[in-house]
């Protein structure tokens, strides 16, 4: 199962859009850096229902409150996510 990592704001470019087009049920999505803005309104940005994570540090830095359904994680949990998934795909810019 793939771990998708997005770092771009949802409307700032095509990274999230491209990622969701390759998202398969059972995959996980991690929002980091500017992508945490998508975590404020997951349904608006058509995020999948399950396995959605956001980096807490990046959300806090931006004053972003994670909506229900998005799980905030720290860097240690991020490493665990990487261990549990393969491949890891980064979607950026």
């Amino acid at each position: 199962m793939t771990l998708h990592i997005v770092n771009q704001s949802p409307l700032g470019g095509s990274a999230l859009h491209d990622c969701l087009a390759s998202f398969v049920e059972g995959d996980a999505l991690l929002l980091i850096e500017d992508a945490v803005y998508a975590a404020t309104a997951p349904t608006h940005h058509k995020l999948p229902q399950d396995n959605i994570y956001a980096l807490t540090a990046d959300a806090h830095a931006r004053g972003v409150k994670l909506a229900q359904g998005v799980k905030g994680i720290d860097e240690a949990a991020w490493v665990d996510l990487c261990v549990a998934h393969t491949p890891i795909v980064s979607w950026f810019r």
């Binding site: 793939t2 087009a21 995959d27 491949p87 810019r93």
Partner: protein, 119 residues
């Protein structure tokens, strides 16, 4: 067993260096006998169109791409939806010496690999 490697190319040529540096990495992997699968998706499909960048003093990325078969990469995968979303006719996408495979489900394709290099 060495890992299977996918190179995911989703940036247009010339606007930033990722398209060119991605190709260089792909060719380097192939030269090392770690032949990666290659998938063009998103704006990356623009790399496959005719190009004439002489007037902007750039080398042709498409010419460079055509070297892939020489490095042992004989199949190129292309996201069908990305092509359609950009109003590109699929028959304009051709790369001499390589077989172009249109993918309807990129997600199912991606999850079969061990490692993904994103460019």
């Amino acid at each position: 067993m060495a890992n299977s490697i996918l190179a995911l190319c989703r940036h247009a040529p010339y606007g930033n260096t990722l398209a060119r540096e991605g190709l260089e990495a792909i060719l380097a992997c192939a030269a090392m006998d770690q032949i990666p699968a290659v998938l063009f998706t998103g704006d990356g499909v623009y790399q496959l169109l005719e190009q004439d960048p002489q007037a902007i003093n750039e080398k042709s990325l498409r010419r460079n791409l055509q070297a892939m078969p020489m490095f042992g990469i004989e199949q190129i995968h292309v996201c069908e939806k990305s092509v359609a979303a950009r109003g590109i006719a699929t028959d304009t996408l051709q790369l001499a010496g390589a077989e172009l495979v249109l993918l309807a489900d990129t997600g199912a394709f991606i999850r079969d690999f061990d490692q993904v290099l994103s460019f």
